[in-house]
Amino acid sequence: MIHSLAIARAPAGGAAIEVTLKLFAMLERWLPEGARRNEIRLSVPAGATPADIVVALGLPEALCAIVLIDGAFVPPDQRAHRALAPNEALSIWPPIAGG
């Protein structure tokens, strides 16, 4: 299942790409309907950033502590600038620790 996610700042009719979104721990509740095993395929406008997706889903920014694209950490100051490429996986966790 592919969930289409509207991004507020994206122009209408622009090209779309597919990416994977994964939300874990207490962020699970923000996964769009149809998600399985903590993930879902999203269709988003080309150029969408992690910050765009966080806003579109209504995720509290304070709970988005660990933001990864294909496993690589995206620092907070780059989350509004790093555009997702087709088929990349965006994974987000709240503040967590363990050991």
Binding site: F24, M26, I66, L68, A72, F73, S91, P95, G99
Partner: protein
């Protein structure tokens, strides 16, 4: 004063128990628990001692905050020369036993010698006796605890004991208290069983009083508890998901050691994660996770309590495993799962129950299973030798080997050797994923570079609880650093090692450090204890403890050559994930670390460093 100022000395050879005053001069320099217990140990035991000989000693030590109202103040440490490693061993446990010992009026118990027959120590406040354990020698931890509570008609008695694996010589046997909390690593349980000491049963009603400044301590501990409650990790994440919340993130970043470290990502990670534990099973409609649980005085409550699917092949018609019991923490879930390629959550839970029931370290066990499975796939070990077909991914092999290790039967005897000795025996020492004989925990150091240095330099063999740089490199606590970079990791590891030594020695849980720094610990110690427990002095105390442990290991024969990693991690690049193409850069970090430490290029503390630390 928070210390009780009294220790017990138990001569198991002579069958005597004596009370001694706590050495307060040492307490001022080494604080308590890990630090102070280790000071006693190295003053009394030669570094060359055979870990399983009567000349080795075994110390159970509380810290000055153990048994107080400080959050998580229930910890104790077991100190000895490790059966698995031959290095200094200090294995830390929570639950309620440590606080009970303190409330019985004792800071520490020093066991020496070897009893001629199985015994247990019974501590009822100041009345302490050595008792016959013949009737329950040869039984599990779970049976031992139930038996002792019934025998003494005291359900509030706290019991710390060893299971059958320790009695049978499994070199990574644990000391287990409160059914499923354990001083798990380095084979401290093996040493206990070698002394014919089955259990320590404690009931304490004296309490912990004489706090130096009660009002200041009340204020300091209250403020520190608020820090834990307000922090998203300790106030929300850990209680809800436990340490198991790490499984998916460590897999995503490509640092989840898989199939004996052949891979760094596990396709079944999600199946064995915190999220999976909370989901309803399709088989019975119930979740694996029943609830969380706190240790004594803990305001975090990260513990997992699980209940198995009664129809699972491991427990069908075996109701003794149907109750709620200690569930999977992250390290155990990794070792029993990803390390072997097994994604059957119920099988992992069962193996974890067995590790609790008969007291063996699930990390070393699981990593040894990984080595056995690799040897099986290479054709070095056969089904006939092992007793079952054992390819990577076989849940049945995992649970079969757990059962054998628990009782020391059949191939379980080989399993009890640990991966270093087992792989050497079968001609492939390179397949042991260990340092100083102790198996790695759940972080691949190709994807988290600082953990390679952590493992290589850990005084008790490979361990994440001596310098948890994962906090910084992955989780951004206290600041985010790049997990793929080696720059700056020498200083980071040193800082984590020294601070951790203080947390451990205070008698509190290391998990408070996700929210607290020593800035939060210092006022609690200063209010509770006489002496200088300023931040500046605590930094020195931590560094002193680390160097003291190092000097013991050096005297025991360990050199810079032992500060190393298996060649798989330094020559075989990660195949997938962000670390793809990388090996661990230990060769760059280690000299920087020695310099940071004030050690010679051969890894020996210089006279100047020793003098600065009062060593």
């Amino acid at each position: 004063m928070s210390w009780q100022r009294k220790i017990l000395r138990v001569d198991l050879t002579a069958g005597t128990v004596t009370s001694e005053p706590l050495n307060m001069e040492w307490a001022m320099e080494y604080l308590g628990s890990r630090g102070l217990g280790t000071k006693y140990f190295i003053e009394e035991v030669g570094a060359g001692v055979d870990p399983l000989s009567p000349a080795n000693k075994l110390i159970f030590a509380t810290g000055p905050l153990t048994g107080t109202m400080a959050s998580t103040g229930g910890r104790y440490t077991v100190i000895t020369k490790g059966a698995l490693t031959g290095a200094i061993a200090c294995s830390n446990s929570g639950g309620y036993w440590g606080a009970e010992l303190k409330m019985a009026g004792w800071d520490m118990i020093v066991f020496e010698g070897k009893s001629p027959k199985p015994v247990y120590l019974l501590v009822r406040d100041g009345e302490v006796t050595i008792e016959d354990a013949a009737e329950f020698w040869g039984t599990s931890v779970w049976h031992t605890e139930e038996h002792l509570k019934a025998k003494h008609q005291d359900p509030l008695m706290r019991v710390s004991s060893v299971g059958r694996s320790a009695e049978k010589g499994c070199l990574y046997a644990a000391v287990v208290n409160d059914l499923h909390r354990a001083a798990g690593r380095s084979g401290v349980g093996t040493v206990m069983a070698s002394k014919n000491l089955k259990a320590i049963a404690v009931r304490g009603t004296v309490g912990v009083g004489n706090i130096r400044d009660p009002k200041a301590f009340f204020d300091a501990s209250k403020a520190a508890k608020k820090v834990l409650a307000d922090n998203a990790v300790t106030g929300q994440g850990l209680p809800a998901y436990g340490t198991q919340v790490l499984m998916n993130v460590i897999n995503e970043i490509g640092a989840l050691p898989t199939r004996n470290h052949k891979d760094v990502q596990f396709e079944g990670a999600r199946d064995i994660s915190a999220e999976a534990m909370a989901e309803k099973r399709p088989t019975d409609g119930k979740a694996n996770l029943v609830t969380n649980q706190a240790c004594f005085g803990c305001t975090i409550a990260c513990g997992r309590i699980s209940q198995m699917d009664k129809g699972h092949y491991t427990v069908e018609n075996r109701p003794q495993y149907w109750g709620a019991s200690g569930g999977l923490e992250y390290e155990a879930a990794w070792a029993l799962g990803a390390a072997n390629g097994v994604n059957d959550l119920e099988a992992l839970t069962y193996a974890n129950f067995l590790a609790n029931e008969d007291g063996f370290d699930p990390i070393s066990f699981g990593a040894t299973v990984g080595a056995v499975m690799e040897l099986y796939e290479m054709g070095v070990l056969t089904k006939e030798q092992i007793g079952i077909e054992a390819p990577f991914g076989s849940a049945k092999a995992l649970t079969f080997l757990a059962e054998k290790t628990a009782t020391g039967e059949g191939f379980g005897k080989e399993m009890g050797l640990g991966s270093k000795r087992l792989t050497e025996k079968y001609g492939h020492p390179e397949l042991s994923m260990s340092v100083k004989g102790q198996e790695f925990p759940a972080y691949d150091s190709r994807g988290i570079q600082g953990m390679g240095l952590t493992y290589a330099t850990s005084n008790r063999g490979a361990c994440h609880l001596r310098s948890y740089t994962v906090a910084s490199e992955v989780l951004g606590i206290p600041i985010k650093t790049d997990p793929l970079a080696t720059d700056g990791k020498a200083g980071l590891v040193k800082a984590f090692q020294d601070a951790t030594a203080v947390f451990d020695s205070a008698g509190i849980c290391l998990f408070t450090s996700f929210a607290w720094s020593l800035v939060d610990v210092a006022p609690q110690l200063q209010a509770a204890c006489e002496g200088d427990w300023s931040l500046e002095n605590l930094n020195v105390v931590g560094e002193r403890i680390w160097n003291m442990e190092r000097m013991f290991n050096n005297a025991a024969g360990f050199t810079s050559k032992d500060d190393t990693l298996p060649k798989r991690l330094t020559t075989e690049p990660a195949k997938t994930g962000p670390a793809k193409g990388l090996v661990n850069g230990l060769d760059k970090m280690l000299p920087e670390y020695y310099a940071e430490r004030g050690w010679t290029p051969d890894g020996i503390p210089t006279p100047e460093t020793r003098a600065r630390l009062g060593l």
